[in-house]
């Protein structure tokens, strides 16, 4: 199973304050453990939301909104993609993660949809038309 593990932003990360050497070292060590265990598929850190943009969809209108964005605790400051056996395993791994920011913070784990998750809910016909759509639009599951 794959999981998106999202490191949430804090005031410090949003202010663009770079983590201390100690924190970088600890995080590096943790990343090495993840790689050695064969579970880390990807991982990146993100610039503060002041460098980001959002698009709002309203009917046919598309509005571009410049960062920074307000709800700091809901913003994402970095992410991993892990492949582990279960949510329990993802949780156990995350417990071993050093605190992500000098001022604490929160990390959220969300399972990615896998083919099997669609199960019987998606009939062959539905799936076929979905595949046609995806082929036309180039959207990838």
């Amino acid at each position: 199973m794959r999981f998106l593990v999202m490191v949430k932003a804090t005031k410090a990360s949003e202010a663009g304050i770079m983590p201390s050497t100690k924190l970088l070292e600890d995080m590096q060590k943790f990343n090495e453990e993840l790689v050695k265990a064969g579970i880390m598929l990807a991982g990146e850190g993100l610039h503060p939301s002041s460098k980001g943009k959002r698009l709002r969809f309203d009917g046919e209108t598309r509005t571009v909104i410049d960062g920074p964005f307000a709800e700091t605790k809901e913003l994402v400051a970095g992410f991993w993609i892990w492949q582990v056996k279960s949510m329990d395993e993802a949780v156990e791994w995350l417990k071993r993660c050093p605190p992500p920011h000098a001022d604490g913070g929160e990390i959220e784990i969300r399972p990615l949809f896998e083919l099997a998750d669609f199960g019987d809910a998606i009939t062959p016909e539905l799936r076929e038309s979905d595949e046609r759509l995806r082929a036309q639009t180039g959207i990838k599951r």
């Binding site: 790689v35 598929l41 329990d88 156990e92 062959p124 995806r134």
Partner: protein, 425 residues
């Protein structure tokens, strides 16, 4: 936290740590079976103590320490110390202690111990199926029940297989070590074979109703990725990882809505997993940067990479694929490799050149009941407009395949060839 939560957390920690604990213990007691028993005792202690004491801050260290105490108890109880001293020889004698220095032994060698455990579980003294079962159990952290379910074999059969494998290792006095020098290449190829076999059983199941069992693919990939970090200087390890990552990237594209297999060139490439492709390509690069002659896994990964890099089937670099098959054929000559090379040649230079290659291997005994030989030959004959010769090839291929859907397809091709035969004068 409820009792069930705690129990689940313990089981999860166990799954994550058991390989390391067993590996560390094996180094000390020199017997995989005994090490597993001792490690299991530590798990039982955790199940007894953690629900009341709470889960320790560092559960892995706790398990390791508990297992270590069990090992010391064991040594004392059985008064085996002196005998073990003699068996272990120099290493322990030099420590000048009444009991071995477990702390040092457990902490210093995690990487080496894991690697030794992999080599032990995949030792050539064991049958292939025993190696697979033992590897999944000891390194993959799977239970006997899970292995049985994955391979559609009964649980007692797998349990028996594991018990016998451990006994065989003990009887043969297989040393717990990472093989060096001349022995290494052969032993490593046995390890890679086991991992690829697990992957393939998941990728194209040989038995049962499911065309794929993704759980096994994930287990194999994880083992491969772990091995790549333990033995980073071995190009074939990275080659195998690259091959598995790229093959896994096609998982979502290789079955139709109704469950039929879709061949590589007909797959919707928008459904290929780009993250896995990128990982595969970088593993291949890691292998090639080591700068030695390319081995079988690196070459197969290089072929898979040619397909992965092509955005559409028509953009495939067939000339490059033919060249790699030639390298592979020189390295490990086999009729199956030749047949694959012929298919690539037909794409690169046309059906006539390919037919010559196929005809050269037609009488190979290995291919006698291999349905792909007549199927490929029939396909080439159709491309050459020789429909009357193509029909019996498809019929023969249909009689050899064990897959009902494939048989239907081949018979249809035979009928189609028949229809296109131009009546003689």
């Amino acid at each position: 936290m409820t009792a069930t939560d705690t129990q689940r957390a313990i089981e999860t920690v166990w799954r994550m740590e058991s390989a390391k604990v067993i590996a560390g213990l094996t180094r000390i007691v020199r017997d995989v079976g005994m090490a597993e028993d001792l490690a299991h005792d530590a798990l039982v202690s955790a199940l007894e103590q953690w629900p009341t004491s709470g889960i320790p801050r560092n559960p892995a260290a706790w398990l390791m320490a508990a297992a270590k105490h069990r090992a010391i108890d064991h040594f004392r109880r059985h008064k085996m110390l002196e005998r073990k001293h003699q068996e272990l020889g120099h290493e322990l004698e030099t420590q000048q202690e009444s009991v071995p220095d477990f702390d040092a032994a457990l902490d210093d060698h995690v990487g080496d111990d894991m690697l030794s455990l992999i080599f032990t579980a995949c030792h050539p003294v064991l049958s292939t199926e025993a190696r697979v079962a033992l590897t999944l159990r000891l390194l993959g952290g799977l239970t006997t029940e899970e292995i049985a379910r994955a391979f559609l074999v009964s649980e007692p059969t797998i349990a028996q297989r594991i018990v016998r494998a451990k006994r065989t290792l003990a009887d043969a006095n297989v040393p717990f070590e990472v093989p060096r020098g001349a022995e290494l290449a052969g032993r490593l190829s046995s390890v890679l074979e086991v991992i690829y076999l697990i992957f393939n059983e998941g990728y194209s199941a040989t038995a049962g109703d499911d065309w794929m069992r993704p759980g096994l693919c994930e287990d194999a990939l994880r083992l491969g990725r772990i091995l790549a970090e333990l033995a980073p200087a071995e190009p074939e390890v990275h080659g195998l990882v690259a091959l598995m990552e790229i093959q896994a990237s096609r998982a979502a594209a290789r079955t139709s809505a109704t469950g039929e297999p879709i061949l590589l060139l007909d797959q919707d490439r928008a459904r290929w997993d780009q993250l896995l492709i990128r990982r595969g390509l970088s593993a291949l690069q890691r292998a090639e940067q080591l700068g030695v002659a390319r081995g079988p896994y690196v070459l197969q990964a290089a072929i898979a990479a040619c397909h992965a890099r092509a955005r559409t089937a028509s953009e495939t670099d067939w000339a490059a694929i033919v060249a790699i098959y030639e390298e592979l054929a020189r390295l490990m000559p086999s009729p199956v490799v030749e047949l694959n090379r012929a298919v690539a040649v037909s794409m690169a230079s046309g059906p006539a050149a390919a037919l010559d290659l196929v005809d050269a291997i037609r009488s190979e005994p290995v291919l006698k009941s291999y349905h792909l030989l007549p199927s490929v030959r029939g396909d080439l004959l159709v491309k050459l407009g020789r429909f009357d010769e193509a029909r019996p090839e498809f019929e023969r291929a249909a009689s050899l395949t064990r897959n009902a859907r494939e048989r239907e397809l081949l018979l249809e091709r035979a009928r189609d060839a028949q229809r296109r035969v131009v009546p003689g004068p």
